[in-house]
């Protein structure tokens, strides 16, 4: 099996694995961030350029470095390849530039946006971006569009990662939304606001890395860090029924899919579970989800029940 070294960590991975996936197999700090790549989708990646890495050694046979930074989500590894991610100053500098470009047309309305607190762009900008902007022109503006009764599209916040389009492609043969126009003017069009009437359409909310597609049933209900994410399941004939219930006291404010450490859902859930089942009695609550210690969502979130914590103390 070909061997690849990322930030000094070596791993042997299967032929044809991308650099990003090899890094994810190593885990930790050497994983490049990704805004458009989504491992659960058949087609994704190559759009956002946040996962750029420096290949300092092409392969064992041809040890020349690659001339430019490459997108790790779509570059397959070669035997003996050496990759710099966090350790490469060039990458960090380029990533800072990418964040600046992504934020050029982003409205920065985080205080209003429902995604704030669990937003990939927010995390990315916090980690890699500059604190100020050099952009002086007007940002592009769009009107809000309701895609069906339950999904709202804020085109102003969109970073054109195409994840939602790819999701729709994968879920249904007759998708009703795609990207219209080109370049700066491109937008997620819905063909005259015709609704997506697919039972799994709600998953575009989960795959959206920013707050462009949001849940209308939970719109402005609360901030994510005031809610307690709990693993919940129910018997559902359309999907696995395994979800996360975002709770405030005994009330379920929002249902989402279960996301892993890279913000990707493990399984797509159906719209009935997501939008229509907010009654606590219909769910079996398994327990609190694990939240990273430094996440803002961890505020007031306790993962141990009182009896668990006494057990912990006795250890």
């Amino acid at each position: 099996m070909p061997k690849v070294t990322i930030d000094g960590h070596s791993i042997e991975v299967a032929e044809g694995t991308t650099i990003l996936n090899a890094a994810r197999q190593i885990g930790g700090d050497c994983v490049p961030p990704a805004m458009c790549y989504y491992s659960k989708l058949d087609v994704s990646g190559g759009k956002c350029r946040t996962c750029l890495v420096e290949v300092t050694k092409g392969s064992e046979k041809d040890p020349r470095p690659m001339p430019k930074l490459v997108a790790s989500c779509s570059t397959p590894i070669m035997d003996g390849m050496e990759v710099g991610n966090k350790t490469s100053a060039k990458v960090l500098d380029a990533r800072k530039g990418v964040v600046e470009f992504l934020l050029i047309n982003h409205p920065l309305d985080c205080p209003v946006c429902d995604q704030a607190g669990e937003c990939d762009l927010q995390n990315l900008a916090y980690e890699h971006g500059a604190s100020g902007t050099r952009y002086e022109e007007d940002r592009r503006t769009f009107d809000k569009i309701d895609i069906g009764a339950n999904i709202q599209l804020h085109m102003t916040r969109c970073i054109l990662c195409y994840r939602c389009v790819n999701t729709a492609d994968q879920l249904t043969e007759k998708r009703v939304h795609g990207v219209l126009n080109r370049g700066d003017a491109s937008e997620i069009g819905t063909y005259i606001e015709s609704s997506i009437d697919n039972e799994f359409s709600g998953n575009v909310i989960d795959v959206c890395p920013v707050g462009a597609l949001t849940d209308r049933t939970a719109r402005f209900k609360s901030r994510v860090w005031f809610l307690n994410p709990m693993n919940a399941h129910r018997n559902c004939d359309k999907c696995s029924g395994e979800t996360v219930a975002w709770m405030f006291g005994d009330e379920i404010y929002r249902i989402t899919g279960r996301k892993d450490q890279y913000g990707e859902v493990k399984e797509f859930i159906c719209n009935t579970c997501r939008f229509d089942t907010k009654d606590l009695a219909k769910w079996t609550i398994e327990g609190p989800r694990h939240i990273e210690r430094d996440s803002v969502i961890g505020q007031g979130h306790y993962e141990l029940t009182p009896s668990d914590s006494t057990k912990e103390l006795k250890k």
Binding site: C110, V112, F220, S222, V296
Partner: protein, 184 residues
Amino acid sequence: MKPFTNRSKAVTKTAMTFMERIYLPAILGGMFITFKHIFKKKATVRWPDEERPRSEVYRGKHVLKRDDKGAERCTACGLCAVACPAEAITMVSAERNKGEENLYREEKYASVYEINMLRCIFCGLCEEACPKEAIFLTQELMPSFYDRQDFIYGKDKLVESMDNRIDVSKRQESNVVTHKYNDN
């Protein structure tokens, strides 16, 4: 046991002398000290007739500011509540309807905004966290009440009135103001 300070005195049960027994010299000595203080400068201030000068950035009662057009600046982002170490702030957000643009500056606003003044420790972290320059602590002192319920300050008590605006310019450094306003 070893004494903690060198000021401790051992209690003795020796009989008092004549001078000690008549008490008067000790009482006169005490009264002299008391009367001496009448002519000294007083340490206390006769509040509320007289007010002790407070700092320009004194952290007193909160205010929710309006912008120049009279619209509420608060967008119920919840950052003050999450920054609050005493967990004194709660809020409920609502969406602005058409025609309410002169009431609320952003498309989302706080329909309920409450500060529990019994919990509040007046640390000013809410002011520091606010991205919209909406909440400020003021020069005003927090009054006291008999009922606990009266200490829950809602929007009726917190939002400033346009007739009687509260000047917070001293609390905002100019570089902070320009930085925050350029974002909008």
